[in-house]
Amino acid sequence: MDLPHHGYRASKQRGRAAPPAGDSVLFEDTSSAAPAMNNQGYYTPGYNMGGTSNDMQGGAGVNNLFTDPMANAAMMYGSSLANQGKDMVNKEISRFMSVNKLKYFFAVDTRYVLKKLMILMFPYTHQDWEVRYHRDTPLTPRQDVNAPDLYIPTMAFITYILLAGMALGIQKRFSPEVLGLCASTALVWIIIEVLVMLLSLYLLTVHSDLSTFDLIAYSGYKYVGMIFTVLCGLLFGSDGYFVALAWSSCALMFFIVRSLKMKILPSLSSDSMGMGSSAKPQLRLYITVATAVFQPIIIYWLTSHLVR
């Protein structure tokens, strides 16, 4: 690939796929945590290089535009303005949440998504539930099928909303407000569940490495089960709905217990102090089991009105 070889791009080859050649000029790949501020002085000559090399690939028809110096200058100015705006937005956003951490959760590929969906629906044959680490940082979802991701929950959430609209439309109960109401109800339940989980983990001083995004990911996996349940309810009627509800509840409870057991319960701390968490192990178990039991309840609550 003949991408322009800037200095920070050479160190990008580690684990990530290279960006497609089409967007090599305007959007450099910032996911390798390179300091973009240092290159502030290099933007104009860099974009000149990028502009002309893209032009050489782009075809002969647009040559007239780039030979005009005024248009060239205007384009460079515009792209530098866009970059300044982009940097400002990035700076503001990174004050609230770390964008690199968020990028970790979306680094998925097709194979991971398929395997994860299989595990969510049928977790009983999966052997190794431990999240693998690589020199103290967790592996990305591309390399480790046990790592939580945010792609599946986001897509499942959107699909659930669309499916709810379709189910209501089939029963002739649809109106646009209902769609928004369904979306905000589901969102509010996610927020409540994540807040309760965070509160209980804080109160019991569980020193796990579950960040907020991990909890959002784990509580978003129930939407896959919900989609499956609603589909079966639509296709096979009320009996199919209850069978699918039972199946996906059991699968999801098993999945949640096995996944969170590794993180919350102190079974693998060989150097745990004798009375460090002596009163706690059953409370931690209660948290895990309560989270698991909450899933079928909320699945039933959010889908029963769609399948009458």
Binding site: S184, T185, V188, I192, Y202, T205, M273
Partner: protein, 82 residues
Amino acid sequence: MAFTLYSLIQAAILCVNAVAVLHEERFLTKIGWGVDQSVGGFGDEPGIKVQLMNLVRSVRTVMRVPLIAVNSVCIVLLLLFG
């Protein structure tokens, strides 16, 4: 029950107000939840009650001033728009 984001915000404001209203010396020490009764227990063994007391005290300290602003805005909006 159909939630909207607005009802979540309302519930959050009410809960934080409820925590902020608990008076330190008139109420919390009387029921044994004052912050001066929570020392001791070195090592990582704080216990649920101590964690809860710390949480109440920190919520009260942090949210006191923003709550003034948020409550005023809520009052004005509810008066104007019902």
